[in-house]
């Protein structure tokens, strides 16, 4: 008997499928990160984790910029758990990127892809900070994590990113989640998303 692709359990979207290797990579990364920081998983992985059938090389994760000591502990823990950082092997040199609000990337040892594109944010990045502050819970098998509100993610792809791939991702999300998307939320979020263009 056919089962639906997702269902809603309270405040959580439950995607009705098994975990794949891409999910497990993110799960391991977030398993370390959660000890040190809050986060939000954004962009392509939101579409792919909900059924968009395309490959990807990276998973974008927002985090509020952290202090050097916390970052050092987090970095050491990641390395101890089998990750390496593209930008450097010492947390001091990598922290310079974070301090300057530049993205950094982590992959598993002896692998290039997939990687986590780790994106520091603060309140000056208004749209990103908004989605970070309004997370939607999603669960696949036993793996629960946070994504932006679906309407926000769709608008961000349509208005800000707007490449062919992003438009296709947005169409996927609009179709797959058509039963739960809310027009009033699209209206509410559009002006916030458009601030990212300025």
């Amino acid at each position: 008997m056919k089962e639906k692709g997702y269902y809603i359990d309270g405040e959580t979207i439950v995607v009705n499928r098994e975990l794949n290797k891409l999910d497990l990579f993110l799960k391991d990364f977030l398993g370390v990160l959660r000890e040190y920081s809050d986060y939000l998983v954004v962009s392509g992985f939101v579409s792919i984790s909900t059924g968009r059938t395309r490959g990807t090389e990276d998973i974008d994760v927002l985090f509020p910029v952290m202090g050097k000591e916390d970052f050092g502990r987090f970095f050491g823990d990641l390395v101890g758990n089998g990750f390496w950082c593209y930008q450097g092997d010492s947390f001091e040199e990598v922290y310079e990127y974070v301090e300057n609000m530049n993205n950094i990337r982590f992959a598993r040892v002896d692998e290039m892809f997939p990687n986590i594109e780790f994106i520091p944010i603060d309140e000056t990045k208004e749209a990103k900070f908004f989605e970070f502050s309004h997370p939607q819970k999603i669960k696949i098998s036993d793996f629960e994590f946070k994504i932006p509100p679906l309407e926000f993610e769709i608008l961000y792809k349509e208005i800000v990113l707007a490449s062919e791939k992003d438009i296709a991702d947005a169409i996927h999300l609009r179709t797959f989640f058509k039963d739960i998307l809310k027009n009033e939320k699209f209206k509410e979020y559009e002006s916030i998303v458009r601030k990212e263009l300025k």
Partner: protein, 70 residues
């Protein structure tokens, strides 16, 4: 009688697939194969290109620098 519109553009297939996977979660099995196949191919490619261990990171960083990613 159900009228089925034939997909024409690439994006029509995105809509078709999203509708079908919503109705039938067994299609996630196909998606899993595609996602993992890409990861396995990529892993094999870069292992052959850069080897393992300390050498891997050095060669990988040289490559990333050349393509402007770091």
């Amino acid at each position: 009688m159900k009228i089925v519109t034939k997909p024409v553009r690439d994006l029509d297939y995105v809509v078709l697939y999203a509708n079908e996977i919503y109705k039938d979660n067994s299609l996630f099995d196909q998606q899993k194969e595609l996602v993992e196949s890409q990861l396995n191919s990529s892993s094999l490619l870069f292992r052959r290109k850069f080897g393992k261990g300390v050498g891997f990171k050095k060669k990988a960083r040289d490559f990333l620098s050349k393509i402007g990613l770091i």
